[in-house]
C-alpha cells in the first residue's frame, strides 16, 4: 500500500495530537499532554479508489520553548495546519509554520483546520480572518477533536489532495 508522510503543524495545545488520536484510535482526552519531539501514527484510508497508508507525524507544538525542526518535515507528502479558534495567536503561528513548511517541503498539499468548533461562541478568530486565509489559497476546515466533528474529512481531504498531486511513479510504497 502506498505510504504518505503527513506532518501535523500548529501552535502548542491547538489539538494536533487530539485530532490524530481521534482519527487513529477514535479516543479523546480533555487532559492536555504536551508532545515533545514527534510521535508517528499510521492509518490507512481510501483516497478515491486507492488505498493509502497515512504516516501521521504528530509534531510538537510550536512555541517559544520548541521550534519545529526542519528535519522532521523532510519527506512529507503533505501537511495539516491546526489552529485553535479560541486563541487568535495560533493563527499567527499557523501562518509562520506554513511559510516554514513551504520553504522546507516546497508546494506540497496542505489543509488547515480550526479546531474547537464545539466552543464556537468563544472563538477569537473571526470570519474576516478566515476569509483572509481562504483568500491566500488555504483550505480551511472547522472541526472538533472533542466531538469528532470534521476529523475524517480533514485527513481524507489531505490524502486526496496528495494523491491527486503526486504522480504514481514518484510514490513510495
Amino acid at each position: 500500500m502506498i505510504q504518505k508522510k503527513i506532518c501535523m503543524l500548529g501552535g502548542f495545545a491547538v489539538g494536533k495530537t487530539s485530532l490524530v488520536r481521534r482519527f487513529v484510535s477514535n479516543v479523546f482526552s480533555d487532559h492536555y499532554q504536551t508532545t515533545i519531539g514527534v510521535t508517528v501514527e499510521k492509518k490507512s484510508v481510501m483516497a478515491g479508489e486507492q488505498g493509502v497508508l497515512l504516516m501521521l507525524w504528530d509534531l510538537y507544538g510550536e512555541d517559544e520553548f520548541q521550534h519545529v525542526r526542519e528535519s522532521y518535515l523532510r519527506g512529507s507528502s503533505g501537511y495539516i495546519v491546526v489552529m485553535d479558534g479560541t486563541r487568535r495567536a495560533t493563527l499567527e503561528t499557523a501562518l509562520a509554520l506554513q511559510e516554514t513548511a513551504v520553504k522546507t517541503m516546497g508546494p506540497v498539499p496542505f489543509v488547515s483546520i480550526i479546531n474547537k468548533v464545539d466552543v464556537r461562541s468563544q472563538w477569537e478568530i473571526d470570519e474576516r480572518e478566515i476569509e483572509q486565509l481562504r483568500a491566500r489559497g488555504w483550505t480551511v476546515l472547522f472541526g472538533s477533536a472533542k466531538l469528532g466533528q470534521g476529523v475524517e474529512e480533514l485527513f481524507l481531504s489531505v490524502a486526496t489532495q496528495i494523491m491527486q498531486a503526486v504522480p504514481l511513479s514518484s510514490e513510495r510504497a
Binding site: A13, Y32, I36, V38, V40, F65, S71, Y72
Partner: protein, 600 residues
C-alpha cells in the same frame, strides 16, 4: 575505500560496553554498500525489548521504526557529509513493543569514511524537560484563560461604562431639559457636579465651580450660611431649607432640598427650587393682608390701603371716619408713615371730653401766667408736631371756640399761644378723625361748616368689623400671636369652632373689642388651645349673660341702659365699664356726657 569493520574496535572491552549500557545507547554502523545497519558492541537493555535478541545485529529500519526509516533515507545529508559531522534526529516517541512507549533520539556520526548511528533512549533528563515544558505550557494556557477573563471583564466593564455614560448623558439631558437646578457636594462640601440651571440660579456663568467649596460659590447671607451648614450636617436623608436670598446679578429666592447621596453616604445632592416668583407673590399677598399696623385683606380694607397710599402722597388735611374701635388712629399713623413727614413727629390728641380752655392750651400752648396754674411757658401740640403730623381724634367734640382757632391755624399755618399775641408759624399736617356724622353736626350747628370743608379735603372711611367679617380670622390670629408673644404663653392656632364663634358676633366695639376678646381668651385659657368657652361671655352668648346688641352709637334706645349696666357691673369703674363694652375710655366718657349720664 573499505575500512576495518567496527567489530575490530575493542567492542568487547568491558569498559566500553558498561558505558554504552549506562547511557542506554545502541551503536550501529552503516554498510555503505547495502545501506544496512549492524549493531556494534553490547546492546542496551531496551534494545532487546524493542528490536529482539542480541544475536539480531542487522537492523531492518523499515520494520523497526517508521521514524528512523525516514531519518536514514538515502538522501539523508549525513551520509555525504564531511568527516567529523554530527547530526541529531531530534526526539521521537514510539511503541516499546510492551504496550508502552519509548522516546528515542538518533545521532549520526560521520567518521572519515564510516558512518555511525547512535540510538539513545531518552530517560529521566528528558522526562524532566518534558515536565518543565508541560508546566510552562499549562501556565501559558492558564494565563491565556486569565487574560481572556480579564479582557472579558474589561469589555463588560467598558460596555457597562458606555451604558452608564449614555444613561448619565441621558440623565443630564433630562436634567437640562427639565431645567432642574442641582449640585452634588462631596464629603468635604466641594462641588462635584453642577447643572446649567443650578449655575444660572446662583448667578455663575462658568463651570469652574467644580472642586470649589459651596461656601465659596453660594452668594447668600451670613446667617443663611449658618443655617445651610447646619442643614447639611443634619442626619436625616432629606432636608428642606430656605428660602435663601441669592445675592447675585440676578437676585433670586431659592429653597434647598438637601438629599444624602445614596451611593456615597458622605456626599449630598442639592436641588435648588426657584421660589423668586412665589416669594414675590407671597410678599404681595402679605402686603395686601396688612398695611403698616393695619390687618385685613377684605376688599373694603384693600380700598382703604389704596386710599391711604393716595392721601399719603399729598399734604392735605384728611378726615378719617369710622366707628369707635375701627382703628382710626392706626390709619392716621399709616398715612404719616407713608408720607414725606415720616421722619418727623406724629402726635395724637384726643379732643373728647376736654374743656375749650384746656384743649386750646394743649393744642396751641400757653405763656406763663396766662391762666391760673400756668407756671411756665408751654408749647402746644402743634408746635410739638412741627414738621410732622398732628392727629386730632374725635374732632367732632371740639368746642366751638377751639373750632375757630383751629380753622385759623389750618388757614394761616400759624398758632398763637394762650397769653401771647404774637403768632408762631407752624408746619404741621392735620389728620382728623371722628365717629360723628359731621355734616349732621353742621346742620345742627354744633360744628363749623368752614372747618368741616377745611378738614374734609380728603376722606378715609373705615368699615366696621361686621362689614369685613372675612378679616376676623386674620385679625384674631394676628392678635393671638402678639398677645402670646407678650405674655409668654404658647397657644395653638384658633380652632374652627372658636373662629366660627368670633365670626358670628357683631363686634360693636370693632377691632378693639376683638383684640380685647382674644386677650381675655388667652388669659382664661388653661390649655394649649383656645376654646369657645374661653372667649368673653357676650361673644359666646353664655346663658345668664345677655349678649349685647350691635353697638350703633347714638341710635340705640337701649344704649343708655347698657352704659348704666356696664357701670354697675364694673362697680362704677369707668375704665372697666368701657373695657366691658369694648370701647375706649374716651368714647365711654363722651357717651356718658352725650347721654347725660352722671356716674355715681
Amino acid at each position: 575505500m573499505r575500512h576495518q569493520p567496527l567489530h575490530s574496535v575493542p567492542s568487547d572491552d568491558p569498559l566500553f560496553n558498561r558505558v554504552l549500557s549506562t547511557l542506554d545507547i545502541a551503536v550501529l554502523e552503516r554498510d555503505e554498500h547495502s545501506g544496512e545497519f549492524q549493531l556494534q558492541g553490547m546492546a542496551p537493555e531496551w534494545w532487546h525489548m524493542r528490536v529482539g535478541p542480541e544475536s539480531c545485529t542487522m537492523l531492518d529500519l523499515a520494520q523497526w521504526s517508521p521514524f528512523l526509516r525516514e531519518y536514514v533515507a538515502a538522501d539523508h545529508p549525513a551520509w555525504t557529509a564531511e568527516s567529523g559531522t554530527v547530526e541529531k534526529s531530534g526526539a521521537w516517541t514510539e511503541s516499546d513493543g510492551q504496550g508502552g512507549t519509548v522516546t528515542l533520539e538518533a545521532t549520526v556520526l560521520s567518521m572519515e569514511s564510516r558512518t555511525i548511528l547512535l540510538i539513545e533512549r531518552l530517560g529521566s533528563g528528558f522526562e524532566q524537560m518534558r515536565a518543565i515544558v508541560q508546566r510552562a505550557r499549562e501556565c501559558m494556557l492558564a494565563e491565556d484563560v486569565t487574560v481572556k477573563a480579564h479582557h472579558k471583564t474589561e469589555t463588560r466593564l467598558i460596555n457597562q461604562l458606555e451604558v452608564s455614560e449614555r444613561t448619565k448623558d441621558g440623565a443630564l439631558a433630562l436634567l437640562q431639559y427639565l431645567r432642574l437646578a442641582a449640585l452634588v457636594l462631596d464629603e468635604h462640601g466641594r462641588i462635584t457636579f453642577a447643572s446649567d440651571r443650578g449655575l444660572e440660579l446662583l448667578g455663575i456663568s462658568t463651570r469652574e465651580v467644580i472642586g470649589l467649596k459651596w461656601e465659596e460659590v453660594f452668594p447668600i447671607h451670613q446667617q443663611d450660611r449658618v443655617i445651610f451648614r447646619e442643614m447639611i450636617k443634619a442626619p436625616s436623608d432629606r432636608r428642606t431649607a430656605g428660602p435663601f436670598y441669592i445675592n447675585s446679578s440676578h437676585p433670586a429666592w431659592i429653597e434647598l432640598d438637601i438629599h444624602r447621596d445614596p451611593r456615597h453616604p458622605g456626599c449630598h445632592i442639592l436641588v435648588m427650587n426657584d421660589r423668586t416668583e412665589l416669594h414675590a407673590l407671597r410678599r404681595e399677598l402679605n402686603e395686601q393682608a396688612s398695611f403698616h399696623d393695619l390687618v385685613g385683606k377684605s376688599p373694603a380694607m384693600l380700598r382703604v390701603y389704596q386710599l391711604v397710599r393716595d392721601v399719603a402722597s399729598v399734604d392735605t388735611t384728611v378726615l378719617i371716619e369710622g366707628e369707635t374701635g375701627t382703628g382710626k388712629e392706626l390709619i392716621a399713623r399709616a398715612i404719616h408713615s407713608s408720607s414725606g413727614r415720616r421722619n418727623k413727629p406724629f402726635i395724637a390728641a384726643n379732643c373728647a371730653g376736654l374743656t375749650d380752655s384746656i384743649l386750646t392750651s394743649q393744642l396751641f400752648g400757653h405763656r406763663r401766667g396766662a391762666f391760673t396754674g400756668a407756671v411756665n411757658d408751654q408749647q402746644g401740640l402743634f408746635e410739638a408736631a412741627e414738621g410732622g403730623t398732628l392727629f386730632l381724634d374725635e374732632i367732632g367734640d371740639i368746642p366751638p371756640p377751639v373750632q375757630t382757632a383751629l380753622l385759623r391755624v389750618l388757614q394761616e399755618k400759624e398758632i398763637t399761644r394762650l397769653g401771647e399775641s404774637r403768632p408762631r408759624k407752624v408746619d404741621v399736617r392735620v389728620l382728623a378723625a371722628t365717629h360723628h356724622n359731621l355734616s349732621e353736626d353742621v346742620i345742627r350747628g354744633s360744628f363749623r361748616a368752614d372747618l368741616l370743608y377745611r378738614i374734609r379735603i380728603a376722606r378715609v372711611q373705615l368699615p366696621p368689623l361686621r362689614e369685613r367679617r372675612e378679616d376676623i380670622p386674620l385679625l384674631a390670629h394676628s392678635f393671638l400671636m402678639t398677645i402670646c408673644a407678650a405674655s409668654g404663653k404658647t397657644i395653638d392656632p384658633l380652632s374652627p369652632e372658636t373662629l366660627h364663634g368670633l365670626m358670628s358676633y357683631v363686634w360693636p366695639g370693632n377691632v378693639r373689642e376683638l383684640r380685647s376678646a382674644i386677650e381675655f381668651a388667652v388669659i382664661s385659657c388653661r390649655r394649649a388651645e383656645v376654646s369657645l368657652s374661653d372667649l368673653p361671655p357676650e361673644i359666646v352668648g353664655t346663658p345668664g349673660v345677655p349678649t349685647l346688641a350691635p353697638w350703633i352709637p347714638l341710635q340705640d334706645r337701649d344704649e343708655k341702659s347698657r352704659l348704666l349696666a356696664a357701670l354697675s357691673d364694673a362697680k362704677g369703674n369707668r375704665t372697666e365699664a368701657a373695657k366691658r363694652l369694648g370701647v375706649s375710655r374716651a368714647t365711654f366718657y363722651r357717651r356718658l356726657v352725650e347721654l347725660n349720664i352722671q356716674p355715681r
